[in-house]
């Protein structure tokens, strides 16, 4: 059984063979040829990009009998010994098994001696991130001032777990993830050398699903070669990885976009019974949604993932069904559902949930259309469209911020002193003047609270009413109440009592007359729990006006804030 995995067989033996890490190669080759060799290196990067390989090549480059040279000869005794892993002076230590301080102490004792045969004594510590804290600290002194002729090489996938004190003592090289093209080229080369007949599309697929790691690409390649009996086709790779064709994913998303839950579920189970892998299916659905959103925003084919002409056509057809905000929203839902799909005991039900959520995603209003509409409406305050009851909260928030900004700006035209109401003026004027006075004082929170309330003067009293006791209670808080009283007396020109009352509790005939259709609509909107929640969340937000539901197309539903936990904090609009 002299069989050796392809990834090992094809392990590069010289710097120039390592793919895609030019920046490291250059720096190290120069360091060697200039004789400026640092005593400690750290190689960091994701799995299968050449860290350990590089460390071994470095060991040979430094110790080659014809060297030190950037291109070790591979022939001398030193090179051969190191290649076979039998050199006494080059020690490769598994940092993940020898994690303790005792292992480091042993290393320190040995490092004190000069190399026995070779030029340098090299310690390669792989998976160095697993060393314990005390082991790392045990290394500090020797790492700062090692005995001459000692070189440390650390390799790790998680540089963030290495203490700063270590990091500052080593030269760090970050290995980057490989591009699809680089993996593709290498695989093609391997296919040729191993005499494996391989479709170009298959190579492309394997390169893509290696996710930036050469070793992953090579092991997929090897597995495909075995199961395909020396011939690798795209269909074989797809089947082996449980990949879902782009078109199948587009179909599934198409059913979702058409709003047909049953169709989507049927398509999904058909895909599963064809052996689709849930993880890849999920990724493909996210990819399709991403493409749809990107295409809607840019209309640029080049920015999409790789498509065949036919799938590109269907992709565009699919895009037409929804607006860009909607695609973005769907992408958002799908992207955040990863835990539901992949991190659960019931992955299949989780995926079905995702489909149902996508199907039932509320229609969104087009922001541009909305802005245009607002501009057309000849209202005195077009920017402050106000928080309407049945608007999605994010937008309600956005518009109320605008309202907030415009409210304090208003009094700049009319200065506070002139806002003093003449005696015997109508009650509403007194109220308006009070609001302006507070605006001039920049009491935004108080102003925000008051603007959700009604105020009127009844004799020597200012009655402030609101449908909610808790808002009224907030007025009584000690940082607000004195300011309010002060402002009231400033505006009225004398001291007035302020009484707080809950809406509907008691109505004077005067208010009952005013409260026409509009008032009733306002009341019902204000008593909406969702709105109350929005107002609570966005301190200082105000309800400026209430309009009946205007839209002709999609009924604006509550957009889910999509909190991490669906159990809490999701406000729901009754249809």
């Amino acid at each position: 059984m002299a069989y050796e995995a392809l990834a090992r067989k094809w392990r590069p033996k010289g710097f120039e063979e390592v793919v895609g890490q030019g920046h490291v190669t250059r720096a190290l080759a120069n360091a060697i040829s200039l004789g400026k060799i640092h005593h400690a290196y750290l190689f960091a990067g994701t799995r299968g990009v050449g860290k350990t390989t590089f460390a071994r090549i470095l060991a040979r480059a430094l110790n080659c009998e014809k060297g030190p040279s950037a291109s070790p000869c591979q022939k001398c005794a030193a090179c051969n010994e190191i290649l076979a892993g039998t050199a006494v002076d080059v020690q490769e230590i598994d940092g993940a098994s020898n994690t303790g301080i005792d292992d480091v102490r042993r290393l320190r004792e040995n490092a004190a001696y000069a190399p026995s045969r070779l030029r340098y004594k090299i310690y390669i510590i792989d998976e160095v991130h697993m060393l314990s804290k005390s082991a790392f600290n045990g290394l500090l002194k020797i790492l700062e001032e090692p005995p001459p002729h000692t070189v440390f090489v650390f390799a790790t996938t998680e540089p963030n777990r290495i203490p700063d004190t270590i990091l500052s003592r080593v030269q760090r090289f970050d290995f980057r993830m490989l591009s699809e093209e680089e993996i593709l080229d290498r695989l093609r080369e391997m296919a040729k050398a191993e005499k494996i007949d391989c479709e170009e599309d298959a190579l492309r697929l394997m390169a893509r699903y290696a996710f930036g790691s050469m070793r992953d690409g090579q092991s997929i390649f090897e597995q495909a070669a075995v199961s395909g009996n020396g011939r690798i086709t795209a269909a074989l790779v797809e089947e082996m990885l449980g990949l879902v064709g782009t078109e199948a994913a587009i179909d599934l998303v198409g059913a979702v976009a058409a709003g047909s839950a049953g169709e989507a579920i049927r398509k999904f189970s058909a895909l599963l019974s064809r052996g689709a892998d849930l993880k890849f299916l999920y990724l493909s659905v996210v990819d399709v949604l991403r493409d749809a959103a990107v295409w809607k925003f840019t209309e640029n084919d080049d920015l999409l993932f790789r498509h065949s002409p036919s799938s590109l056509g269907r992709m565009k057809e699919l895009c037409g069904g929804k607006g860009r905000e909607e695609w973005m929203f769907l992408l958002d839902i799908a992207f955040r559902s990863e835990k539901d799909v992949l991190g659960t005991e019931f992955p299949r039900l989780g995926f079905e949930l995702l489909l149902l959520r996508l199907v039932n995603a509320p229609g969104l209003l087009d922001v541009e259309g909305l802005a245009g509409e607002a501009a057309q409406a000849s209202r005195p305050r077009p920017a402050a469209a106000g928080a309407q009851g049945p608007d999605p909260p994010p937008k309600a928030a956005a518009t109320t911020f605008a309202a907030r900004a415009s409210a304090p700006a208003a009094p700049h035209r009319e200065t506070a002193p002139s806002a003093v109401a003449p005696k015997g003026a109508k009650a509403d004027e007194l109220w308006d003047a009070l609001l302006k006075n507070l605006g001039a004082k920049k009491k935004a929170v108080l102003l925000g609270l008051l603007s959700q309330m009604k105020g009127r003067r009844e004799g020597d009293e200012l009655v402030i009413s609101s449908p909610h006791q808790f808002v009224l209670d907030r007025l009584k808080e000690e940082d607000k109440w004195p300011i309010l009283l002060q402002a009231v007396s400033e505006v009225a020109g004398k001291k007035l009592d302020v009484r707080l009352s809950v809406f509907g509790e008691k109505k004077s005939p005067e208010t009952a007359a005013v409260a026409g259709e509009e008032e009733r609509a306002r009341m019902s909107a204000l008593s909406d729990p969702l709105l109350a929640e929005v107002l609570r969340e966005f301190e200082g937000a105000t309800v400026l006006e209430v309009r009946p539901v205007p839209r002709k197309k999609t009924l604006p539903q509550t957009a889910e804030p999509d909190a991490e936990e669906p159990v809490e904090g999701e406000s729901e609009q009754e249809p």
Binding site: M1, Y3, R8, T46, R47, G48, T52, D94, A96, S97, T99, D126, E127, H129, M130, T157, S213, R215, D216, S219, E222, Q223, V226, S227, N229, E239, L241, G242, A261, G262, I265, R266, S269, L272, S273, G275, D277, K279, K339, D340, L342, G343, T344, E345, F346, P347, R348, L349, G350, E352, L353, L356, R357, N360, E565, P566, V567, E570, E572, P575
Partner: protein, 326 residues
């Protein structure tokens, strides 16, 4: 008796791949059997190892008669090393022990096999300690890792193995397999078999676990979604206390809510709880599809809660919240 590769059902792809390794003679050093729990991974891995150790390998795996096969089926083959979790996890000490063992020469001239099962129970330290061995094991040594969830393994481990995917099967296949099992088949109602198969996510092993729950509490749950009866809620949630909680408990309500969400969207096909259809049809219109979908999601989140969570309280809160809106 050593299992045969062909006795695996619904995993033709994996079985074919495993056979190909023998045909070509290129048996990789690191093999990762992954897929849903209960799809036959461990069975396949053991059968594969048996075939590897067997002196007189047949096309369908081990012969079952040679000395090696006999040693293996008595569980005493010195070339087979098993690494299994103690107290839920495979610790770094277990892996260190394994490495020490592997550093010695093999007992006989047969290849050596290591079975790490379930590999996703390795602690982070243990997994890291295995990396170097997995990449460059001693000659004629094969490491077989069995993992239910690939995502629980560090990518560095996954990248060093050849992956044998075990697929989930269509619900119908699972139902058939269940029907043929002596402990399930005749003794359970058809509806329970069907529901268990549908909730199993395509894994016969899981379906078997779910059967009990299915048989017992499906109607109770349909009732719980129908009308708010505090006594019934408490009776059910009592079973969700930490100490009594079982795996897969959430399967029943999940299946029902899923059906309700589908029914309320006006879909009639593909219902899991076919026998409860009438009841469900009556409940479904009480809420909008959005509300059912949300309930579905809430339940799914609950099924993911860590073991120390107060599932009972979560369940009560969920049910009262659901009915509070009626």
């Amino acid at each position: 008796m050593v299992g045969r590769l062909s006795s695996l059902r619904g995993q033709d792809g994996a079985v074919a791949l495993l056979r190909r390794y023998f045909e070509t003679g290129n048996v990789p050093a690191g093999l990762l059997f992954h897929g849903e729990e209960g799809t036959g991974k461990e069975k396949a891995a053991v059968a594969f190892l048996a075939a590897l150790l067997c002196r007189d390998r047949k096309e369908d795996g081990a012969c079952g008669e040679c000395p090696d096969c006999r040693l293996l089926s008595s569980g005493a083959h010195p070339n087979l090393l098993r690494v299994e979790p103690e107290n839920h996890f495979i610790q770094i000490a277990d892996i260190r022990g394994l490495k020490e063992e592997l550093s010695l020469k093999a007992f006989s001239d047969r290849p050596r096999g290591v079975l790490v099962c379930p590999a996703d129970r390795m602690t982070l330290q243990a997994a890291n300690a295995l990396l170097k061995t997995l990449e460059e094991p001693p000659p004629a040594t094969h490491l077989l890792l069995v993992a239910h969830r690939l995502s629980w393994l560090p990518p560095t481990i996954v990248s060093r193995c050849q992956k044998i995917p075990f697929r989930t099967m269509p619900a119908e296949t699972v139902e058939d397999i269940l029907g043929e099992l002596p402990e399930a088949g005749k003794r359970r109602s058809k509806a329970a078999l069907r529901a268990a198969a549908a909730c199993s996510g395509g894994s016969p092993g899981r379906a078997l676990l779910l059967l009990d729950e299915m048989e017992k509490s499906r109607e109770t749950w349909a009732g719980l979604f129908t009308r708010p009866d505090p006594a019934a809620v408490f009776a059910t949630s009592d079973g969700w206390r930490k100490s009594e909680a079982q795996e897969g408990q959430a399967a029943v309500p999940l299946a029902i809510v899923r059906d309700l969400a589908l029914l309320s969207s006006g879909e009639n096909a593909d219902i899991i709880n076919e026998d409860l259809r009438d009841v469900l049809c009556a409940i479904a219109p009480r809420k909008t599809p959005q509300e059912w979908t949300r309930a579905f999601r809430t339940l799914l989140t609950m099924s993911r809660l860590p073991p120390q969570a107060q599932k009972r309280l979560a369940l009560e809160a969920f049910l009262f919240d659901l009915h509070g809106k009626d």
